[in-house]
């Protein structure tokens, strides 16, 4: 997207804009090509005054547009002529203004996402009563517009929330800091609170004079994600009918004997619910496992050398796996329909990370192509973003192979569940000094690490996995190629 955009504009460097003057967005100009107004056909079928906001055509050549930013947030009141959203076309960023008064009930296409011209990008409700209906509509819109790509990985809690009707846990241990003084929050804290949908009144101020700082909001967002229940269900990947299903799945074990008296029931956070759903789904895939011992003395030596340059073990392993995958594309493939192989053109290594009460898999895209240092840098950014719950969908759901490492805890071997949509996952244990005998019968002590790969047997067979592991082991045992 970005490169296509760049090349587009660079080509036009010498051409004057006169052939397609930037359109005026004011409603008074009726000849403007902007189609941000309700489609008349649709109005006939919609009983209440819920209007869709369409992706406008900002130039004659524009076929799709990217949302740069939403000027308004969900729930904001709009009055005619106000800027609502900023759209990037092939030539410029343009403010798009509303033709109607109302309330921005739902954002269908989020910031940074792209939609074709004419597609609904948001829903405008005339009154507050219609917001719920508009949201339902938005949910179906977003479900329909991206039917092929439900995020397979757990979504960050900040962007997707369970259906609003689900009652919030009433006795939630909400840290209430409201004294007689009014709440003081810094400008950035307020912005973050809005972004993460954190109720500022519920945050505990630890800044000077007890004010709420951005760190407090981040803490609040991490600790009390259930607070986000008030958030609208726009980016939820399923239709409104689905959350009860997910709840049902989560509640399946309730057929077990009643809980021991005195136990407490804590509902899943959104992220936990997503993990649960994915895990249950994985049962439909026939998987098998292959283990392999890998000698890591050379890798450990390399790690000591590059560590001061900011390279992490995660980056080293991801890079090694990516290089091995490049030679064994079938392990990087996936089986979408049970009838075919889907070979992925990119090698995107998802790495499982435990974060506060959840699990997320930030993705190192094109891990085979990036050098070790860039990869480490990228990884650092991703982890920071994951902690701040700011990962974009592409940054956690585009993985083609997953890496899970529990070695740092001393785990010597374990077995991972294959996430839906991927062909294989690698579980890495700790590297431990082990007595080994070589071909001549000489004993020595080498660091050995056990890796265990779980794969989808519909597409990856035993020999494939064994060959892949052999390549991986060779790369780790001769790690110089990792730094190239």
């Amino acid at each position: 997207m970005a490169s296509a955009f760049l090349s587009n504009t660079t080509i036009s460097f010498s051409s004057s804009l006169s052939s397609s003057p930037l359109p005026r967005l004011l409603p008074s100009i009726s000849s403007s090509p902007i189609r941000f107004k309700s489609n008349p056909r649709r109005i006939l079928t919609v009983r209440s005054k819920i209007r869709e906001i369409f992706m406008p055509a900002l130039s004659s050549t524009m076929t799709e547009g990217k949302i740069v930013s939403w000027v308004k947030s969900e729930g904001d009141k709009l009055s005619k002529g106000e800027s609502v959203v900023v759209v990037e076309s092939d030539k410029a960023d343009m403010d798009v203004e509303t033709f109607y008064d109302g309330i921005l009930a739902a954002i269908v296409v989020g910031e940074g996402e792209t939609a074709p011209v004419g597609a609904a990008i948001g829903i405008l409700a005339e009154t507050e009563d219609e917001i719920a209906e508009a949201k339902a509509k938005a949910a179906s819109k977003s479900g329909a517009s991206t039917p092929s790509a439900p995020p397979p990985s757990p979504a960050p809690a900040a962007t997707s929330t369970p259906a609003p009707p689900k009652p919030a846990p009433a006795p939630a241990p909400a840290p209430v800091a409201e004294g007689p003084r009014k709440t003081v929050a810094t400008p950035h804290a307020k912005k973050l609170a809005k972004q993460h949908k954190v109720d500022i009144e519920s945050a505990v101020g630890t800044g000077p004079y007890g004010r709420i700082t951005s760190a407090d909001i981040e803490a609040a967002a991490g600790i009390v994600p259930s607070k986000t229940n008030v958030g609208p269900a726009v980016v939820v990947e399923t239709t409104p009918a689905a959350p009860p299903k997910a709840t049902a799945a989560a509640a399946a074990p309730s057929s077990l004997p009643p809980p021991v008296p005195g136990s407490t029931v804590v509902p899943f956070t959104t992220m936990q619910a997503a993990v649960s759903k994915n895990m249950v789904e994985s049962l439909s895939v026939p998987t098998f496992r292959v283990g392999y011992p890998v000698t890591t003395d050379a890798l450990d030596a390399l790690y000591e050398k590059v560590k001061p340059k900011g390279v992490t073990m995660t980056a080293l392993l991801a890079k090694a796996a990516a290089m091995a995958l490049a030679q064994h594309p079938v392990v990087n493939a996936s089986c979408k329909d049970g009838k075919s192989f889907t070979y992925n053109s990119n090698i995107n290594i998802a790495v499982a990370v435990a974060i506060n009460g959840g699990l997320i898999t930030p993705v190192l895209q094109d891990a085979d192509k990036l050098d070790l240092y860039l990869l480490s840098q990228k990884w650092k950014e991703l982890v920071e973003k994951a902690r701040a719950k700011q990962l974009q969908p592409l940054e956690y759901n585009s993985g083609t192979f997953t890496l899970s490492n529990l070695g740092m805890f001393g785990v010597d071997r374990f077995d991972a569940i294959l996430p839906p949509g991927q062909g294989a996952i690698m579980a890495v244990g700790a590297s431990k000094p082990t007595v080994v005998a070589d071909a001549d019968g000489f004993f020595s002590v080498k660091n050995k690490m056990l890796v265990n790969v779980t794969a989808d047997h519909r597409i990856v067979y035993g020999a494939d996995l064994a060959a892949f592991l052999q390549t991986f082991s060779k790369i780790v045992e001769n790690p110089e190629s990792l730094t190239l």
């Binding site: 504009t9 804009l17 006169s18 003057p21 030539k91 410029a92 009014k182 003081v184 400008p187 240092y373």
Partner: protein, 575 residues
């Protein structure tokens, strides 16, 4: 070419014997001035040196003799009394940028000139305004760039954590101010302008007294007097400025501390520039604006875009439509407390607790103690009333002969370069050539990252005028996104906007928001000043790839009905 001509006439004039001062010292001073690096007139000197080599001898004589005859007749007409009776031809009260510009031009016109300054040479601009703030903004721009990880990455750069040393930044600003100040002082001294130290007071027509406190006053006379006393930060009542936590731009430029959270009262140029500095250095900012929207005075479309880029993504929030009616500095373990009052209902609205407050509510003229009562002039809210030729108007609405007022003190356009332009215009009049400054051709700039610049009218102003006078107004826009150089710099965010008359191609206003906007505006302001029309300027060629092509595209995208002038250049040169 124009400047070369005026320099030539100047050189000629110095050889004309004048009765009221020794020309010997003067001409030697002029010779000295040539190698000096002068900030405000460096280019002119160069042009002179160049033209004297290339101009033929006869041409020089011809041109200068014309200038000479004009000069003689002018002094005969303008001054009935013998020349001898005055100490100076021109006295300027205030050595800011306005006074300095007037003084240099006066010397060029052959006037014996003195400048009175009670504080430091350079005035607000050099010591407490544009100059040191540019030093801080240079730092903030770099910090911003280094901190923007994705910007760096898009360029393929890797930078580890950027940091700054507050004292180092403050020193940079201070050093810049003293350097420019000494340049200014030297340039005037070298040209033979007498710098009189002390507070200047007008004691009567063509008579000024000056002196330091505790010293006897000196009285000097001059044929003409220019008031150029400038302005000081305006602090609304109810606000207690302690110089530590509640400050004005004067204190902020010293950068004595960088607060975690600072409230900026006023979202004009000064407030915006400081928000850029403070947020780059890690502060969070809260704007307090009395009007209903931020950045009043900017073209609304530019303001909207600027808000999207300069305010929304940064750690800034704002309260609009409110007055800060009471601000108490931090003390006794309490933060700075700001009481907000609704601008319309006048009812208390909110209270803010912040670490510091910067008062950027504008500037008030500095005209107290000027002795205006001695010549029956009454100021209006402190401003000296003047006509369009900067001639001072007295209490009876009559012009005060030989007295002019330029710059912030008259309040026409409170910009350093406007003051300088007014000063030059006054000197032209004093030297016998009628001249009126076209204020619509004076550009203005706000040095945020990216910059904002403008000249002429905003769109609403132009439409209002069009309505009244019955002409049509059109608007053309170009984006920095379509400019190669901007994209190479990875700074495609920006917009240039042209407001013009489609019938005759007159440029009514140009507004730019984007990389180096402040440097780009001059093509438009020069066009307005010289009356160049769009249909002609669109044929001018711009180097590729440069940011100036943004304006090139802008002019080319305008749809003008009038045809291009037959031959804008007198003699086309084929190669």
């Amino acid at each position: 070419m124009h400047s070369a001509l005026s320099s030539l006439s100047f050189s000629q004039v110095t050889t004309v014997p004048r009765s009221n001062y020794a020309f010997d010292s003067h001409s030697s001073a002029f010779a000295l001035s040539q190698p000096l690096n002068l900030r405000f007139c460096g280019l002119r000197r160069e042009a002179f040196g160049f033209s004297s080599l290339t101009q033929s001898c006869s041409g020089r004589v011809h041109v200068s003799s014309r200038g000479l005859s004009k000069k003689i007749s002018a002094s005969a007409v303008g001054n009935g009394t013998p020349l001898k009776s005055f100490d100076y031809d021109l006295i300027i009260i205030g050595a800011g940028v306005g006074g300095h510009g007037a003084a240099l031009h006066a010397v060029e016109k052959g006037l014996k000139t003195a400048i009175i300054e009670g504080d430091v040479v350079g005035g607000t601009c050099v010591n407490r305004g544009c100059v040191p703030s540019k030093a801080l903004l240079a730092v903030s721009g770099r910090m911003r760039e280094l901190q923007s990880e994705h910007h760096m990455k898009a360029l393929g750069l890797q930078v580890s954590a950027a940091g700054y040393d507050r004292q180092g930044v403050a020193d940079h600003a201070n050093n810049l101010a003293s350097k420019i100040r000494s340049n200014l002082t030297n340039s005037m001294k070298a040209l033979g302008v007498d710098i009189l130290t002390g507070v200047g007071t007008i004691v009567g027509p063509q008579k000024v007294k000056y002196g330091k406190v505790g010293f006897p006053d000196n009285i000097v006379t001059a044929k003409d007097i220019i008031i150029a006393t400038g302005s000081v930060p305006f602090v609304p009542k109810g606000i207690e400025v302690d110089g530590k936590t509640v400050i004005t731009s004067d204190h902020a430029l010293k950068l004595e501390f960088v607060p975690d959270w600072i409230a900026i009262v006023g979202s004009g140029y000064i407030g915006l520039e400081f928000s850029d500095v403070y947020t780059a250095l890690g502060s969070e900012v809260t704007f307090i604006e009395a009007l209903d929207q931020l950045m009043p005075g900017f073209d609304p479309e530019i303001g909207k875009l600027a808000q999207r880029v300069l305010i929304n993504p940064r750690k800034i929030d704002y309260h609009t439509g409110v007055f800060a009616t009471k601000i108490t500095p931090a003390r006794d373990g309490k933060p700075v407390i700001i009481e907000l009052t609704d601008a319309k209902t006048k009812e208390p609205k909110d209270t803010l607790e912040v670490d510091a407050a910067l008062i950027a509510t504008g500037r008030a003229p500095f005209t107290n103690g000027l002795g205006l009562e001695n010549i029956n002039v009454v100021t209006q809210r402190g401003f000296v009333p003047v006509d369009e030729r900067m001639r001072v108007i007295d209490a009876n609405g009559k012009l005060v002969p030989h007295l002019y007022c330029i710059g912030d003190a008259n309040g026409k356009m409170m910009l350093a370069h406007a003051a300088s332009a007014q000063g030059i215009s006054v000197v032209e009049q004093v030297a016998g050539r009628d001249h009126v400054v076209n204020h619509l051709s004076i550009p203005a700039a706000c040095f945020t990252h990216p910059e904002i610049s403008m000249v002429g009218m905003t769109e609403p102003q132009a439409r209002e005028k069009a309505e009244k006078e019955g002409f049509e107004v059109s608007v053309a826009k170009t984006s920095f996104k379509a400019n190669t150089k901007a994209l190479a710099e990875n700074e495609g965010e920006g917009l240039a906007k042209l407001i013009y008359r489609p019938d005759n191609g007159e440029i009514l206003g140009v507004h730019i928001f984007g990389l180096h906007a402040a440097d780009l505006i001059h093509e438009a302001s020069n066009a307005i000043a010289l009356g160049t029309r769009i249909q002609d300027i669109k044929f001018a060629v711009h180097a590729h790839p440069t940011l100036s092509e943004v304006l090139d595209e802008l002019f080319k995208s305008a749809k003008v009905k009038a045809p291009a002038s037959s031959s804008p250049v007198s003699e086309p040169v084929a190669v």
